[in-house]
């Protein structure tokens, strides 16, 4: 009950942001909801399926670049470009995931890293198409969405629908089976579940929604950059997910918001942001294994008691 209330409050708040009249706030919130979706998508893999990926940025990048290129170079309309871009990232996730799910643990993680660095290399080298390391600048966004507020509502709508879809997926039988696979792959295998297929499905779901986030990112920035495919981007979204709490559905969204806000605000005071982020990470690992969401749950429970 309190969960639904919290969601309503957040939802209403998000709808009202542009009405506050601050361009900066609209920009900031747009950036946060895009990263929140990115982190939520990763959690399907980490939190639900229990597979840690170091290469999630690949699908974000593929979604972003595809959308940018289709919109600008090929002048496709948005209602074609966006689904096509998402389809491409889903397809990439399917192909890459097929190979990755044959491995587990650190080997799985390393393989996802290797694949994502290959995606990065492709973005880097194929400069006639992607702009290379100059970045793909000047994405053509439909006139309707050129206004800041209009784009915000569009992004909010897309993110909202995506989150709703993710919610359904994670709380369906599929999602519950994923958790079972995460907890005990051996036993679930004995019960007749094709563990590998489940993990692949999770991989594809994660990649698809990361692609949506990437496409929104490219449109928002009017550009796509090779940095978005580099392993540091994968590491950042991983930290967001873990900071928020991987055992909760909305945890990663919270983590994304907190990390992004921290980064932006601390940046204004010190150049030693990496040290602060690193210390934060170490503290979370040592004292807050369930992330901020876990902390919130503990506080709620201790209040009830």
């Amino acid at each position: 009950m309190s969960r639904i209330l919290a969601l309503l409050v957040v939802g209403v708040a998000l709808l009202c942001i542009p009405l506050l009249g601050s361009r900066y706030l609209v920009d900031l919130t747009t950036e946060i909801i895009i990263y929140a979706l990115f982190a939520l998508s990763l959690n399907v893999l980490i939190g639900y399926a229990g597979n840690v990926s170091f290469g999630h940025a690949a699908y974000f990048a593929i979604g972003g670049y595809s959308c940018a290129i289709l919109l600008t170079t090929y002048q496709w309309p948005l209602w074609l470009s966006l689904p096509a871009a998402v389809g491409l990232s889903a397809g990439a996730a399917l192909i890459i995931g097929y190979f990755c799910v044959r491995l587990t643990d650190i080997y799985f993680a390393m393989l996802t890293l290797a694949f994502s660095m290959l995606v990065w290399s492709a973005a880097f080298k194929w400069y006639q198409v992607t702009g290379g390391d100059d970045g793909f600048i000047g994405v053509r966004v439909p006139t309707l969405l050129e206004d800041r507020m209009a784009f915000y509502y569009f992004a909010l709508g897309v993110v909202g629908l995506s989150v709703a879809a993710l919610w359904r997926i994670c709380h369906s039988a599929f999602g519950r089976t994923l958790v079972a696979v995460r907890e005990n792959p051996l036993r679930t295998g004995f019960v007749g579940i094709d563990v590998r297929k489940m993990r692949l499905a999770a991989f594809v779901v994660a990649g698809t929604f990361a692609g949506i986030a990437g496409a929104l990112f490219a449109m928002y920035n009017r550009g796509m950059y090779t940095e978005s495919a580099f392993w540091t981007e994968s590491a950042q979204v991983l930290i967001m997910t873990l900071l928020g709490g991987m055992y909760s559905f909305f945890g990663p969204a919270l983590g994304a918001a907190v990390l992004y806000l921290l980064e932006v605000s601390i940046n204004q005071y010190t150049e030693y942001w990496p040290a602060i982020l690193g210390t934060l990470l170490i503290l979370i690992v040592l004292f807050l294994p369930d992330g901020l969401a876990g902390l919130a749950q503990k506080m709620r429970r201790s209040r009830k008691a």
């Binding site: 840690v52 190979f99 491995l103 587990t104 643990d105 650190i106 080997y107 390393m110 393989l111 890293l113 290797a114 694949f115 660095m117 290959l118 290399s121 880097f124 080298k125 590491a235 930290i239 873990l242 030693y272 990496p274 040290a275 982020l277 690193g278 210390t279 934060l280 990470l281 170490i282 979370i284 690992v285 040592l286 294994p289």
Partner: protein
């Protein structure tokens, strides 16, 4: 180019020298994983610190070898503090926690380097006596690289003998298999763990100091080396000493000859190699197959 025997000869030596330097660093990584089961992302940061410490010692004392020794000792001390204070709380936790911890270390240590030494780029001179080229008959070749070619196998041998023939080595290998049993047998397992982490970090520091004359010391130099180390231990098998030796050689050869044969695709090569190994034989040449 490749038909030229001198060129081939020189490049092969380059590959070996590169590989041996890499091996000394990666040996620490594989040792830490082998016994502690910790993937030490901070290994590159240890390497970087070793290089910077060496630079400072050379600036002050003027002796390169003192710099190498100092780098090893400094990293040993740092590793001791990190392990005793923080890392050991994470042994019971899942690998993800340990990974994140080491990643946090990377960020903190990186800024520490920036804070202490600044953002400028430094260079370390070759040690006197090894700064020029040696006439090998076919061609002239830098003495320092020859030194590295020779040092690698020596280090490998010393480490191997240490693991196989000494009591401490036996204990380390036993800790890899069954730490509970070892504790029951009265061995101070926490001390062993600290020891392994210390030795691994010291190796990275020494590797960094040894690499210093050939590189520019700059913040961010840890990022490249950590990826290369990971590729080396994956090729060789996580936890295997001779695996890292072989892996380092292979990576050295691929890097050097890749740059000659397919220069446009150089950046892709290392990841393609990693991919190939993980797809074909994920546990590497000498690793143990996953259960």
């Amino acid at each position: 180019m490749l038909s030229n025997p001198t060129f081939l000869f020189l490049q092969t030596f380059n590959a070996i020298a590169l590989g041996m330097n890499l091996f000394i660093i990666a040996a620490g990584l594989t040792l830490i994983f082998g016994v502690l089961r910790v993937i030490n992302f901070a290994h590159g940061a240890f390497f970087m610190l070793g290089a910077y410490v060496c630079y400072s010692i050379v600036e002050q004392a003027g002796n390169f070898w003192l710099g190498v020794l100092g780098a090893g000792l400094a990293l040993a001390l740092l590793a001791w503090i990190i392990e005793r204070g923080l890392l050991r709380r994470l042994y019971a936790r899942d690998p993800l926690a340990q990974l994140l911890f080491t990643f946090g270390l990377v960020l903190v240590l990186g800024d520490a380097v920036k804070f202490i030494w600044g953002t400028e780029q430094y260079s370390v001179a070759y040690p006197a006596g090894l700064s020029r080229a040696v006439d090998l008959g076919i061609a002239h070749y830098p003495a320092y690289l020859l030194f590295l070619c020779g040092l690698g196998p020596v280090v490998a041998l010393v480490l191997w003998l240490g693991l196989e023939r000494t009591r401490w080595g036996r204990i380390m290998r036993a800790a890899r298999q069954n730490r509970e049993m070892l504790a029951l047998l009265g061995v101070n397992v926490p001390l062993v763990y600290s020891g392994v982490f210390v030795v691994g970090a010291a190796l990275a520091g020494i590797g960094g100091a040894l690499a210093a004359p050939r590189l520019a010391l700059t913040p961010g130099m840890d990022a490249n080396i950590v990826i290369e180390c990971f590729i080396v231990v994956i090729i060789g098998g996580l936890g295997s000493l001779w695996g890292s030796f072989l892996g380092a050689l292979i990576l050295g050869l691929v890097t050097v000859f890749g740059a000659v044969l397919v220069p446009e695709w150089e950046m892709v090569l290392t990841y393609a190699l990693m991919l190939a190994v993980l797809l074909w034989r994920p546990w590497g040449f000498f690793g143990r197959e996953q259960g």
